[in-house]
């Protein structure tokens, strides 16, 4: 596909870029902060967390920056009061949906959800906690899957399929009952597809997936390593 130069406006700034890129990519290149959770550079974007919603002039709906391609003369607003309000609600809903207790979480201090809460200045949660009864799968020799901390961003599912090619992870059930499952909902340790590579663990933004060898407060994930890997593989081609 041929690239054509185009000019657009984001938050009042005039920006030159090329066609074929997403709003999110263009914003990142120009140091415009867009909050994301389900996005991980290099893997397919799904527009599920709805944190990256932006206003586009002439479009009645809010559009997810990660899945919307830029167009010439687009006028985009990324941080209006309305968008900030919605980002805050999304964050609160994430926090209220499952059992996110930072003080006893392995990812405390290294968690993207925790960082998001700081970013949107979430000082309290206005919705009742749902406190669901969630399982913890410790059957894998190296890693743990703790559904209590999962926000169903599906980064693990996509990394496993698109980067590792193992297709171990999938999603089951509907609504707030959705669960990340290994194979056909078998314990992770009994998976016949998992290659124990650990990419899903690195990709996971919260304390839902973590290596057993780590103690609380010591977890340091490197999701950018996945993006790096994808970049370097592309260069080889």
């Amino acid at each position: 596909m041929s690239m054509t130069k185009l000019t657009l406006q984001i938050d009042g700034r005039s920006i030159e870029t090329e066609s074929g890129r997403t709003i999110l990519e263009v914003c990142k290149e120009n140091d415009i902060t867009i909050l994301t959770m389900c996005h991980l550079k290099g893997i397919t974007d799904v527009g599920a967390c709805r944190l990256c919603l932006v206003e586009i002039e002439g479009v009645s709906k809010l559009m997810s920056a990660c899945t919307t391609k830029v167009a010439d003369k687009m006028i985009i607003r990324t941080s209006t009061e309305k968008i900030k309000r919605y980002q805050r609600i999304t964050t609160e809903l994430f926090a209220a949906e499952r059992n996110h207790v930072c003080s006893v979480c392995i990812a405390n201090g290294h968690c993207e959800l925790q960082k998001l809460a700081y970013d949107v200045k979430m000082d309290h949660i206005r919705y009742p906690y749902l406190f669901p009864q969630c399982e913890v799968d410790t059957s894998h020799p190296l890693y743990v899957l703790d559904h209590n901390r999962c926000i169903v961003c599906t980064r693990c599912v996509r990394v496993c399929a698109e980067v590792e090619g193992a297709y171990n992870w999938d999603v089951m059930n509907r609504g707030t009952n959705v669960r990340i499952i290994s194979d056909f909902n078998t314990p992770w340790g009994e998976s016949i597809t998992c290659s124990d590579c650990g990419k899903c663990v690195e990709a996971c933004p919260t304390g839902a997936l973590w290596p057993k060898a780590v103690v609380q407060g010591q977890l340091n994930k490197a999701p950018e390593f996945i993006s790096d890997l994808i970049e370097k593989r592309k260069m080889k081609l």
Binding site: A48, T67, I151, G175
Partner: protein, 550 residues
């Protein structure tokens, strides 16, 4: 088969039909079957044979006739006399009086229990008289399991016409001219959709018929598929020719086994006569249809989720753009239309877009099928011109309220729609008017409620439905509907305060604006519209609770 042979087939079908002096249609739609119509049909056929009338009278199963709560229904043609609630025990009597003595039994005629004088010709009854049937036209008069019956009424002549007399562009122009809008709910102009798909250049394109009708209380698509499956197939084939597709998929929800059986049967019959498959009517145009069965997810009625489901993936929606017209099934340009939309295509081709565009209102042309349910006297399936008022539908056609109750509200559009209160009974049923009242046309479900209905509970019911059906992909819909449901539950049980109502309204706005697909963005509609028209019911409950607090 070529075009000439089709004409011979028409003659043959006509001849076959002409030998019968009477035709008895026994409604074998899912509704009437559940009240025992198959047994009635068997008994009637036995009775005909016993009287040695089998060369004069044909008794066949047919599709839905409309007044579903009066079943089993039996229609005598050509007199057009309909008997209701037919019992196997009095079939002998009915046949004797209707066919031999020519003295119809008034006490058993349709609506005889509620009208002073029932009508011998059902079309004179207000229930039928005020309707205009296009999509449902032959439903109830033909045997959906026999292609001959469809050919006898000129079936596939529209396909014949487009293949031999029209260019794809002309077909699209005709559909555009008809001003028909998608009957699935959103009301996108059908012709424009076709044109968009037509314009994308691709060796492969697809046509999908969306029969995943999931709204509680809606059964329009089911009845069309059960009553006249060939009409839908013909519409799909015409669409295929127009947009340049050679493969179609009929996606039908698994809860409709009879519809699936009949469309599969229809596909087989049409293929046998080369009206589907390779080189249709001897031309270069090939079009095949395969059935895909939905597994019970409401969200699969959303087009991107439906496509994912056909591709064998988990049925979850994806952000648009790209729209299916550009990148749909297997990444190819794809046309998705609703069952009722396809059912309207053949009449538009045969009678012209001009004819269709003159029916209805300036912005909403044609007719719309509604499924009447709830506290209405005659529930069932009706088809009226767009712009017919709600009052006409409920009181003239539907016979008014059950047990002479007082009308409170009508819910249109199911869990994605809203309610219309009594002061708006004269609203014209078209896309824009319903939208301005905070409801939507939707696929055509119409639930009538009387004073005994609690509107907060209605909102809670639909929110529970959306919560259960949310696929869980995006946060606003997944968690938002759950939170809203819990808050509504709290109001329903008189445990909510003013703050809860504020939260509820804030969430409703958030879920509407932020959700990924139509399920989420429309999930707050029942809540928002009941808040708009019946706010005092919410506030009364809150006041009651707050007054109890120390």
């Amino acid at each position: 088969m070529n075009s000439q042979e089709l004409t011979t087939l028409y003659d043959k079908a006509k001849q076959k039909n002409a030998q019968y002096k009477h035709k008895i249609c026994v409604c074998c739609g899912a509704g009437c079957i559940s009240s025992g119509s198959e047994e009635v049909l068997k008994k009637i056929q036995e009775e005909i044979t016993a009287r040695g009338l089998e060369n004069e009278v044909s008794a066949v199963p047919s599709g839905c006739m409309g007044p579903c709560n009066q079943g089993p229904l039996v229609k005598f043609l050509p007199d057009n006399t309909i008997y209701q609630k037919v019992d196997c025990k009095n079939i002998q009597y009915v046949v004797q009086r209707q066919l031999i003595d020519k003295k119809p039994i008034e006490d058993l005629l349709i609506f005889s229990d509620s009208r002073e004088k029932p009508f011998l010709n059902a079309d004179e009854d207000p229930f039928f008289k005020k309707q205009l049937k296009i999509a449902l036209k032959d439903c109830g008069d033909i045997n959906p399991e026999e292609i001959d019956d469809y050919l006898n009424i000129g079936g596939y002549s529209a396909l014949d016409k487009v293949l031999f007399k029209m260019l794809p562009e002309e077909v699209i122009a005709e559909v555009k001219h008809s001003r028909m809008r998608g009957r699935g709910g959103a009301g996108y102009p059908t012709g424009f959709k076709w044109e968009t798909v037509y314009k994308y250049v691709s060796a492969e394109k697809y046509v999908i018929c969306n029969g995943d009708e999931g709204d509680p209380g809606a059964f329009m698509d089911r009845s069309v598929l059960e009553g006249n499956p060939h009409r839908v197939l013909e519409g799909m084939a015409i669409a295929g020719y127009a947009v340049g597709a050679s493969q179609g998929y009929a996606y039908i929800r698994g809860e409709y086994p009879l519809a699936i059986k009949r469309i599969e049967n229809a596909i087989k019959q049409a293929k046998k006569l080369r009206l589907l498959g390779n080189n249709i009517l001897g031309t270069n145009f090939s079009f095949d249809v395969q059935v895909r069965i939905g597994a019970g997810a409401f969200v699969c009625g959303e087009e991107t989720a439906l496509i994912a489901s056909i591709e064998g993936k988990r049925g979850t929606p994806s952000p648009r753009p790209p729209y299916p017209a550009e990148s749909g099934l297997w990444g190819k340009p794809t046309l998705i239309n609703n069952v009722e939309t396809f059912a309207g295509i053949a009449p538009i081709i045969n009678q012209g877009g001009e004819w269709y565009s003159e029916i209805g209102t300036p912005k909403s042309a044609g007719t719309k099928v509604f499924a009447l349910a709830g506290k209405i006297k005659y529930s069932g399936l009706i088809e009226v011109p767009m712009g017919t008022t709600l009052r006409q539908i409920i009181f003239d056609i539907g016979g008014g309220m059950q047990d002479d109750g007082e009308f409170k509200a009508a819910q249109t559009g199911g869990p994605s729609g809203g309610c219309i209160p009594a002061e708006h009974l004269d609203v014209k049923m078209d896309y824009e008017s319903l939208l301005s009242l905070g409801s939507i046309m939707g696929s055509g479900g119409l639930i009538v409620m009387d004073k005994s209905s609690d509107m907060v509970d209605v909102a809670r019911f639909f929110m529970e439905f959306c919560m259960d059906e949310s696929c869980g992909k995006c946060v606003p819909c997944r968690v938002g509907t759950k939170m809203m449901h819990d808050l509504l539950q709290k109001i329903c049980t008189n445990h909510a305060t003013k703050i809860d109502l504020d939260r509820l309204e804030e969430l409703a706005d958030y879920v509407k604006e932020c959700s990924l697909c139509g399920l989420g963005t429309s999930a707050p509609n029942p809540l928002l519209s009941t808040l708009r028209h019946f706010r005092e019911e919410y506030e009364n409950r809150i006041r009651q609770f707050e007054e109890l607090q120390p």
